[in-house]
């Protein structure tokens, strides 16, 4: 039987500090995926996730049981990601190698390679979006949040979030279609070299 988040929080507040690990194990992977998509940098994402859990522990008493713990945690995570993104904007452009390595699993079969390539391109396309659009897209498509839930997490109105998702999707489709066409062209030239020379 799975212990509810609220029960774990009660245990932690009662003094069982190690019970917090259950929450970390439950939400760490999703939080890291969200932060990686949002920040586009694995090291920054890991820092943001660590900060998020430490802050969540520190302010655990402010969590109210009628709220979803995931939503409460994601509010902290979004704020930490915004802070890290602002810090990153003041520093030089990061190398993408570690991000792509985290997203694309090595030694995959061919189908997995295609998927990893798609993920890498998606990551590059996401990096070109403004932070607020990236945030909206990742919350909506990666985390599967509804617009009211996104509004609660980000503190932005539902209409603005819909507009951000709409614009981000248009931009992503354009960018990825261009990548897809270039890939198709290269693939076509690779299988018919005579047409390339002719």
């Amino acid at each position: 039987m799975t212990t509810s988040d609220a029960a774990i929080v009660r245990r932690v507040l009662a003094g069982d500090r190690e019970a917090f690990r259950l929450l970390v194990e439950r939400y760490h992977d999703d939080a890291l995926r969200f932060a990686t998509h949002l920040l586009g940098h694995a090291a920054d994402a890991e820092d943001a996730v660590q900060d998020t859990f430490l802050r969540a522990y520190r302010y655990l008493a402010s969590y109210r049981e009628q709220d979803r713990f995931r939503g409460w945690l994601w509010r902290i995570l979004v704020n930490r990601c915004r802070t890290h993104a602002a810090d990153r904007a003041r520093r030089p452009v990061p190398q993408e190698a570690d991000t792509l390595a985290a997203l694309a699993e090595p030694h995959s079969p061919e189908a997995e390679l295609d998927r990893a390539f798609l993920r890498a391109e998606l990551c590059r396309a996401l990096a070109t979006l403004p932070l607020e659009q990236r945030e909206a897209v990742v919350l909506h498509f990666t985390e599967g949040l509804s617009y009211p839930e996104m509004a609660a997490v980000t503190g932005t109105g539902v209409s603005a979030l819909k507009m951000r998702v709409h614009r981000a999707c248009e931009r992503l489709r354009t960018l990825l279609l261009r990548v897809h066409n270039e890939t198709e062209t290269r693939h076509h030239r690779a299988i018919s070299p005579e047409s390339h020379h002719g």
Partner: protein, 226 residues
């Protein structure tokens, strides 16, 4: 706006977004977080609002609540402004007293009777008057002349602060001006009419009707033709 965003991204892109991230050293990451948790101070229970008041926590007012708050603020602002006006009016007291006439000395005129009388009459149409206003809360005071309700307000002088709460100015005004023709303007907002003291302005001149021939007693009528 209708929610059409679900079909805005192809399924493979959504799958790519939702795919889990490969973590080679997940346990190490979790240990790092728990190490930070162990070294952090324990969270303490905070005082919470009762459930009926929790809706106020986010600072969002319903339309009715907003209207009530706006009404309260409007009422409070009106009461405050009215109280301020009443306090200012009760605290301010304007007075004017005549210090003397501007009569020219005869020896200055040079001993010519005709010229002396003309100049003296000319100068004697003015009087030196001291205007005073007690207004402890005022920061700027001016003396204006308001002869007629429709006439433009003419600034006579800028009053200087003499003592604590007392504003004074001495100026020359027409001899037949009445006290009600002057007023103090306090902070460019409040107008305080000047009242004459016992030694102050003469009362407003009464209009004297010219005598008519038919009003005269019959005994005074003489027949000039005789």
């Amino acid at each position: 706006m209708a929610d059409h965003s679900a079909d805005l991204l192809p399924a493979e892109l959504t799958d790519a977004l939702r795919a889990p991230i490969a973590l080679a050293d997940r346990e190490r990451r979790l240990d790092t977080i728990m190490h930070g948790v162990r070294s952090a101070p324990a969270p303490t229970r905070a005082l919470h609002l009762p459930p009926t008041l929790r809706r106020w926590r986010r600072g969002v007012l319903s339309p009715v609540g907003g209207a009530v708050v706006a009404l309260l603020l409007f009422t409070w602002g009106g009461v405050t402004a009215l109280t301020d006006v009443l306090q200012r009016s009760s605290a301010m007291l304007a007075r004017a007293e005549v210090l003397g006439d501007t009569v020219i000395a005869r020896q200055v005129a040079g001993g010519r009777p005709l010229r002396d009388s003309m100049v003296a009459t000319l100068y004697d149409t003015m009087r030196i008057v001291r205007f005073a206003l007690r207004a402890p809360t005022a920061s700027r005071v001016a003396l204006v002349r308001t002869d007629a309700p429709t006439a433009p307000v003419v600034r006579v002088a800028t009053v200087e602060r003499a003592a604590s709460g007392l504003w004074e100015v001495r100026t020359v005004v027409p001899r037949h001006a009445v006290a009600g023709a002057f007023a103090f303007v306090v902070d460019d907002a409040h107008q305080v009419p000047v009242r004459a003291t016992s030694s102050g302005f003469v009362p407003a001149p009464r209009r004297v009707e010219p005598a008519r021939a038919t009003d005269a007693p019959a005994s005074h009528v003489t027949d000039t033709a005789l």
